[in-house]
Symmetry: C2
Subunit: 260 residues, 2 copies
């Protein structure tokens, strides 16, 4: 079983190493790593057509051989699946992101959009993120989340996933013995608290930052946000078909337009 | 009614000008334009936190005052809605993209992700794309698509849209009298035909392009791709909630993991 590990934080991120090490424990697995050389958080689903992409070999902190690219996370997956890796890929695992990807985060997230790219190419995919709730990233233990990712990967390799569906996994940063159960969830309601911060450069011309506070969310039962609030592992199946079938009856009047 | 017009092709694109001109025809409308200064096609849903954003004034080909930014399409929408535009925005219209955005294109598309950003902020949004089927972009007539966009915008301003839903509109590049009816559709099956093209730089080091052919699609009845194939205007309601509710029963076994 050939598993591709990628992420959106850059190939040297601690979360990627923990994930790759966990994948290597799967009996019969062969693990390849192809990930961006820099951080691509909150960059969405990219396919880089306007410039060529480079790929080069790097060594991770434990000596593992990996490939880095100047492409986006979804580019790394696409390059791998289009033949940069000679052997066909059976599973793509993306992460471990050092922040949760819940609710509306999913279309922004490089971690999740890397998994989307795989699913579009017909390869099962799992995105894994950690809810570290203020813990220092340099100190946080990715081990329990990596172990959960390993178990979910084994399950997916055995059972497969429905077509066009990926798994979005969020794990609280708790010791293994304190982790709650695995819950199938739906996307919850994210509350963004961005504010526009206007500053002036030394020449007196304005520039703008997104400021404000970290997003929060509604910890409703049955949602990813609710599961994390209870210390549980959230597994949300996401489908690529975004058609709002339930909205059609409210929109029927649109079909009468254009008939002058 | 305050309408924000944006796009992913850059503020000077012909499609944006045609769209803005059509929006200005809506009685009582005030139209603002804030769009990227360069092309951001296939760049996904971006929020630029790692650098500040600039915004400056430009004039379009007809003398219209517009704002340009070095941010992504979704940044332009976010900047506008976070207060860069003083007056609250009632509708965001994105386009007119000079190529269709159908099937799996939607999560990649700057045109569509700009509309997603609006919907997340609670503002109704419409993405508009043209299927010009090999016609030269410099020659193609955006007028009929802009007129359809105007009619749909009037409808949306009057009736609203369900929460968390945007309209993804694709219009064949046909003369107004040859355009088929407006169809509510679901996302169809896109067939990507990318191939990896490996080249060597003058120093003999490899670099990679996405090559291959333009994507095609399955023109199934009821889908966006099917409607375009019949010369019809496709309106696909898209929902931001990507939860694959229908997949849950197949994934129930995942809830037993982690219980050693």
């Amino acid at each position: 079983m050939h598993i591709l590990v990628t992420n959106d934080d850059g190939v040297t991120a601690r979360g990627l190493l923990a994930l790759a090490q966990a994948m290597r424990k799967i009996p019969g697995s062969q693990v390849s790593i192809l990930a961006p050389h820099r951080n691509w958080s909150i960059t969405g689903h990219v396919k880089t057509f306007d410039r060529p992409l480079r790929v080069w070999e790097v060594r991770l902190a434990d000596g593992t051989r990996a490939l880095a690219s100047d492409g986006a996370p979804s580019d790394c997956v696409s390059l791998a699946l289009l033949g940069l890796l000679e052997q066909p890929v059976d599973l793509v695992v993306s992460g471990i992101n050092p922040n949760p990807n819940v609710g509306h985060d999913v279309t922004y997230s490089g971690t999740v959009t890397a998994a989307m790219e795989a699913v579009i190419a017909g390869v099962p995919a799992i995105a894994v993120s950690l809810d570290r709730r203020g813990q220092d990233e340099a100190q946080v233990d990715y081990g329990p989340a990596a172990e959960i990712a390993r178990q979910i990967s084994v399950w997916v390799l055995e059972h497969g996933l429905p077509p066009e569906v990926l798994l979005n996994v969020n794990v609280p940063a708790l010791p293994a013995e304190a982790l709650g159960r695995v819950r199938l969830t739906r996307l919850g309601k994210r509350i963004y608290r961005d504010q526009l911060v206007r500053r002036l450069d030394p020449a007196g011309r304005p520039y703008y930052w997104y400021g404000g506070e970290e997003p929060t969310g509604v910890p409703e039962e049955g949602t990813d946000i609710g599961a994390l609030a209870r210390g549980e592992v959230s597994v949300t199946p996401l489908q690529m078909d975004m058609t709002a079938q339930g909205a059609w009856h409210k929109l029927a009047g649109l079909e009468k337009l254009g008939q002058a």
